[in-house]
């Protein structure tokens, strides 16, 4: 699977399969308005508190005027998430690369692109 599929289930199942037995992989499924969505990220590379407060919270509370996947993504990008660094991704390898570089990736149903949001947390070690 090279490009992201239109179906959320297909994308999520494929990426879940890649991360089988990796306990630092986080996948959270939820609804954005009426559109099923999934947020993918790696534990430890991003701050969970930040994700809850600045991504999940606004997304789940947002009043989305449409039930189309692509339009929802555009609406989120322009009106819901206020992160400076946002980009649309269309291939699985881009999604994986961004996830492992400390970004949270949002996948929506009926939408072959994903939104990555800069939620890089500074990792403190030692």
């Amino acid at each position: 699977m090279e490009n992201l599929s239109e179906h959320l289930k297909e994308n999520v199942t494929y990426i879940n399969g890649l991360f089988e037995n990796a306990m630092d992989y986080i996948e959270r499924e939820f609804m954005v308005g009426t559109v099923p969505a999934a947020l993918l990220t790696m534990d430890g590379l991003v701050s969970k508190q930040h994700i809850t407060l600045s991504i999940l919270n606004p997304l789940m509370r947002a009043k989305i005027p449409t039930d189309n996947g692509k339009e929802t993504l555009l609406f989120i990008e322009e009106n819901v998430l206020c992160a400076v660094e946002q980009a649309e991704l269309s291939t699985v390898s881009e999604v994986l690369e961004r996830m492992m570089n400390g970004f949270a990736v949002l996948l929506l149903d009926n939408c072959p692109t994903a939104l990555r949001s800069a939620r890089r947390a500074l990792l403190r070690a030692g």
Binding site: L18, A22, M23, D43, A125
Partner: protein, 351 residues
């Protein structure tokens, strides 16, 4: 000079997981959660690269961990005895460096990150790894080769020098050149103890000082050094209690021991044994002891990989990271997976 990263593991194992993930951005890197300790319920993470690691070794490790009946696991060292049978040399690796562990995972080894301890365990662990450091791979190949040989020589000196000295001085003085023999004989004539007792006493004094220096608070550390250096070293010789050659031999032995810190524990015990063996049976005793040591090394396996591989069983191509440290262009061409070492997987012995 240290050229590698300065990052180290911390006590929280989730942080350690992310330290590894930041270095290995691949979906092949797996972390499996396991719990150890009946009462402490300490979380730990098995980590390995799925496309490289041998599933048999992973399963054996899981089996041995589940057979562990410890109540509390407060440090990584608690588990080592459950992963491999006790022996003189460690067959479980320890590291505090994420870059080292990443390198080990690339060679098919399995890491174990335990919560509450900044030390990660990894298996299988081979004897040659004691002489390989992460800095070897960051430094230039010719210098890394030089330091590696320095460490091999230091290892042999650290174990055999005092035993050979005692053996030759007490039983086979004809092996020494005349001037050296006269120097040692003159020094020994004025001291009250036989050379074996002298060596054991000096070594015992050194170990006492080492232990004291390790345990006392930092401000007192310098006084341990002064007492050790001046009183024991200088005055003991001038008072005629010990001979200067014995002191030099023990000092050289101790210094050489520091060059291979991973082997400090077995070396500390082995050199004492060799002093005794050399003092009682002379050079032949030391040689017999060396033979037994070889038996011990050759007879052991670590997770069904021969402990002495790739030296015995021998593989010429693997020598590029044993006898020398070849340049990276040559190293990457070589399959260094631990399960493909010569003799691996034969005669499996499990706990």
């Amino acid at each position: 000079m240290q050229r590698g990263p300065r990052e180290g593991f911390v006590e929280t194992y989730q942080t350690n997981i992310s330290l590894l993930r930041r270095r290995l951005k691949t979906t092949e890197l797996k972390f499996e959660k396991v719990t150890v300790g009946e009462e402490s319920q300490t979380p730990a993470a098995l980590c390995y690269l799925k496309n490289i690691a041998d599933p048999k070794i992973i399963n054996t490790l899981k089996k041995r961990l589940s057979a562990c009946n410890l109540k509390d696991v407060l440090a990584a060292g608690y588990l080592a005895g459950y992963l491999e049978r006790p022996a003189i040399f460690d067959r479980v690796g320890f590291t505090e460096r994420p870059d080292t562990l990443c390198g080990k995972l690339h060679e098919g080894r399995i890491g174990l990150l335990i919560d509450g301890t900044p030390t990660a365990l990894y298996v299988p662990y081979l004897f040659v790894e004691n002489f390989q450091t992460a800095d070897d791979y960051a430094n230039r190949p010719f210098y890394a080769t030089f330091t590696r040989w320095l460490k091999y020589i230091a290892f042999f000196l650290a174990i055999f020098l005092p035993g050979l000295y005692v053996g030759i001085a007490a039983h086979d003085p004809e092996l020494l050149p005349e001037t050296l023999l006269v120097t040692i004989a003159q020094a020994e004539r004025s001291t009250p103890f036989p050379v074996m007792l002298e060596a054991i006493l000096l070594y015992f004094m050194y170990e006492l000082m080492r232990e004291a220096g390790l345990r006392v608070p930092k401000p007192l550390g310098s006084s341990v050094g002064i007492v050790g250096g001046l009183v024991i070293g200088e005055t003991a010789v001038s008072a005629g209690l010990v001979s200067a050659p014995s002191l030099v031999v023990i000092a050289v032995t101790v210094i050489t021991g520091y060059t291979v810190p991973k082997l400090y524990e077995p070396m500390a015990v082995l050199r004492l044994i060799f002093i005794l063996v050399g003092g009682i049976w002379g050079v032949w005793g030391v040689l017999a002891g060396f033979t037994f040591l070889l038996f011990e090394l050759c007879g052991k396996t670590s997770f069904s990989v021969p402990f002495l591989a790739p030296v015995a069983p021998f593989r010429l191509s693997a020598m590029r990271d044993v006898l020398v440290r070849a340049g990276w262009k040559r190293l990457v061409r070589h399959n260094a997976s631990v399960q493909h070492m010569p003799g691996a997987g034969k005669g499996e012995k499990h706990l």
